[in-house]
Amino acid sequence: MNESLHTVTALPAARPADRPFDPPAELLDARRHGPISRYTHPGGRPGWLITGYDLVRSVLADPRFSSRRELMNVVDFELPPAPPGEFLLMDDPQHRRYRKPLAGRFTVRRMRLLAERIEQITAECLDAMEQTGPPADLVTAFAKPIPTIVICELLGVPYEDRGSFQEQIDTFMGGETSEEELMAAYTATQEYLAELVAAKRANPTDDVLSELTGTDLTDEELKGISLILLAAGFDTTANMLSLGTFALLRNPEQMAALRADPALTDGAVEELLRYLSVAKTFMRTALEDVELGGRTIEAGTTVVLSYHTANRDPERFADPDVLDLRRQDAGGHLAFSHGIHQCLGQQLARVEMRVAFRALVDRFPTLRLAVPAEEVRLRPETADIYGVKSLPVTWDKGES
């Protein structure tokens, strides 16, 4: 079997301009050779790249693989453990201690209760877009403000603080900033959140962060939790909304089907999640020797899990590279991950996307790109979350 072992030396920096929705060709090629490839981390450490659906899913469900940052064996210096509260980079039982008080605040039922407010926020964004356009940048008019307002209201971030805050998150999620800029944005956000947590403890209001000050979590921990919730809470959904609209505009028959049939909305959201997988890759480190796909992952070795190729695995999804909003099994995607770290806010994201995509297609029946598709500027592969930087759109005025 060794002779067929495929090696990937670096993750590609960009996607081909004519295939902005597909994982980079090198990764699709790796998966064609088999679900697991040899891989060298950017810091030179040997690792593995897992591109097949079944193997990615099995690693995510396997407690022998760790999420702890200090165990990530990717660079030639030791990474520090996650700051208090940043539970994405922890294993149980630490992870569970943080997740447990949060899970009850993001249930299916609670998130559905927010639908009406999200509809209102979405309508306000679309009203403003209609009044000032056409044209409009769908990113700044629609994709960013909706999830930003929702997560800020949910957590209790005051309205006047949102602008600066969104900018900082953009800086450290965009994938195009220097180490210094990154650190400056991170520090500024940390300072802001420390003040916010202190303010909520002193004067609790009706929001999740204030509620959490009533638990045994310390201010340091609450700061870390808030950072995760805010960063994960809008950059991901914002990019799904903008990239998802771009994908729909490039697949007009799918867009027309969605517009014609509101019952298609829920399935459309799952299919867009599968097809786009904006959270592309995550890492895990083996805590012991693990047999995987006929290979031995040695203890202490870090594997890269490629969600976007897993979600395009033909052994799991028929015609995986086709966007098909009527696909029955799209819900099995790994876009929200799997295992104990599966997205805490996924039920919120679902409600946001269902409401926002529905309202957008209903409001603008003639929505189209205002520039040639190849001129739409996309995030580089170095960004943790893939997406479009701006999406110029236009429509026939007075149509609605």
Binding site: L60, A61, R96, R99, K100, P101, L102, A103, G104, R105, F106, T107, V108, R109, R110, G331, G332, S337, H338, G339, I340, Q342, C343, L344, Q346, Q347, R350
Partner: protein
């Protein structure tokens, strides 16, 4: 004694809500910590397929479903 076909392990559960999303007639979530609440341990035939799907999508492997033995052959 006959065991119930559907079981939920609240210690494993992480409260992701996939079961309540997939089979709301069979599962709900605890409003305090989001963890699984089993509404029907022996779901009627109409809800069995959804319950089975929920088992498959549960991220923490917290629910198990023993399909009743088919009668006859």
């Amino acid at each position: 004694m006959r065991t119930t076909p559907l079981r939920a392990d609240r210690e494993r559960c992480i409260g992701a809500g996939m079961c309540a999303l997939t089979a709301p007639e069979v599962f709900d979530q605890d409003p305090d910590d989001g963890r699984v609440l089993l509404l029907r341990a022996d779901p009627p035939a109409a809800h069995r397929a959804a319950a089975q799907t929920a088992v498959g999508v549960c991220p923490s492997g917290a629910i198990t479903f023993q399909e009743p033995e088919p009668s006859g052959s």
